[in-house]
């Protein structure tokens, strides 16, 4: 479906974005942040939620829309417990209740999303010379299946698989994990590859507009 060269190029895009974002996250939390090599995932729809722990797993999702020269979605997925731990670090508090987030805590998590998302996009923009804008973040605390299905469902017009660049950020000691998913809209994937000088072949462009 994608050539090795294209996969490598996309991994590198993910890596450069993630490197910048990890630095920002590290400064924000004053913690050491480790990033894993980005994974390029082309998954059947039903398997996508499995990759973040199963459709009914309770997670925090932070969503941002990318627009400009290319369009796409950013979704950060954090497990319930890790999100609680993150709010403790961000707000320098000790939580007593473990079943919901206050507005302050949600706001702190969205700001984290904003900082990580923006740093990633800035690096991406510098690399590709594309003009990219990012929306304000929106947060949902719900079942993973419900959260992740939305940004991926638009791929339904193209075929039976979703495309995502999945980068995992880990905070050294407490082991907090954050999944950062970059989900370019269909046409944008081609533009992204072209922008860094990788010519996409015709078969990678299924020809659908995929827009709704």
């Amino acid at each position: 479906m994608y050539t090795d060269l294209e996969i490598d190029a996309l991994k590198e895009i993910g890596n450069i974005g993630a490197g910048n974002a990890a630095t920002a996250l590290s400064l924000l939390l004053s913690k050491k942040i480790i990033i894993k090599v980005p994974k390029i995932r082309v998954l059947p729809f039903d398997e996508v939620s499995k990759s973040v722990g199963g459709p009914e797993k309770l997670v925090v999702g932070i969503f941002m829309r990318i627009s400009g020269d290319i369009d796409g979605n950013i979704l950060m997925v954090i497990s319930e417990q890790d999100a609680y731990n993150l709010t403790e670090i961000l707000l320098n508090i000790k939580r007593d209740k473990d079943w919901s987030f206050s507005n302050m805590e949600k706001s702190a998590l969205m700001e984290l999303g904003n900082i990580v998302g923006s740093s990633y996009i800035v690096a991406l923009s510098e690399l590709t010379k594309l003009s990219l804008k990012i929306s304000v973040p929106s947060l949902a605390f719900d079942m993973a299946g419900a959260i992740i299905s939305f940004p991926l469902s638009l791929y339904g017009y193209l075929g039976d698989t979703a495309f995502l660049i999945d980068t995992e950020f880990c905070e050294g000691l407490d082991g907090i994990k954050l999944h950062y998913l970059l989900i370019p809209d269909d046409e944008s994937l081609k533009l992204l590859l072209n922008a860094i000088g990788v010519n996409t072949s015709e078969r990678n462009n299924p020809g659908g507009n995929g827009r709704v």
């Binding site: 009914e56 339904g156 193209l158 039976d160 659908g208 827009r211």
Partner: protein, 162 residues
């Protein structure tokens, strides 16, 4: 012993009493439940998108789209002995999980899925006897083919039986 059959994203399945059909974590997708109380045959479709005409491929999976999944599901239910004249429907899902202003309407895919499902059901003359749609939260739904009851579970927004 009754069996529980899982219906994944973009899938549709029919079953006969005493089986149970379940779909987990509906967000912007819509769960379309059809039930024939005479033959006790139920069907569940996990619809992702409103309109098959926008598909770039012609050999798409009918389970993905509101306008094709329901027809396919009825065909499967007929094989289990359902009669279309007895079929009624219940629908759930179609939430908008994230609130973001966007210049195009992709953010409202849930709402548009609900509208497309309703239009298709009306076209097929199938009565919608209950619905729990839109909102901003996920749902897990389970249909008991024995009774036709549909249970809806949410996180922090209560559980209901339709």
């Amino acid at each position: 012993m009754s069996v529980t059959i899982r219906v994944g994203m973009a899938e549709y399945k029919a079953a006969k009493s005493p089986a149970t059909l379940i779909t987990l974590g509906l967000g912007s997708c819509v769960g379309v439940v059809l039930y024939d109380s005479i033959s006790k045959v139920g069907g569940l479709a996990h619809v992702m998108l409103p309109d098959s005409n926008l598909s770039s491929k012609k050999d798409y999976n009918p389970g993905k789209f509101a306008d094709t999944a329901i027809d396919a599901l009825i065909r499967d239910m007929n094989r289990f002995g359902a009669d279309k004249r007895n079929i009624v429907s219940k629908i759930a899902g179609g939430a908008q999980m994230f609130q973001i202003k966007s210049e195009n309407n992709i953010m409202q895919i849930g709402k548009r899925n609900v509208e497309a499902v309703k239009a298709k059901l009306i076209q097929l003359n199938i009565r919608i006897i209950a619905e729990d749609v839109e909102g901003n939260y996920g749902r897990t739904i389970e249909l008991y083919c024995k009774t036709g009851e549909l249970t809806i579970k949410t996180i922090g927004h209560g559980n209901r039986i339709l």
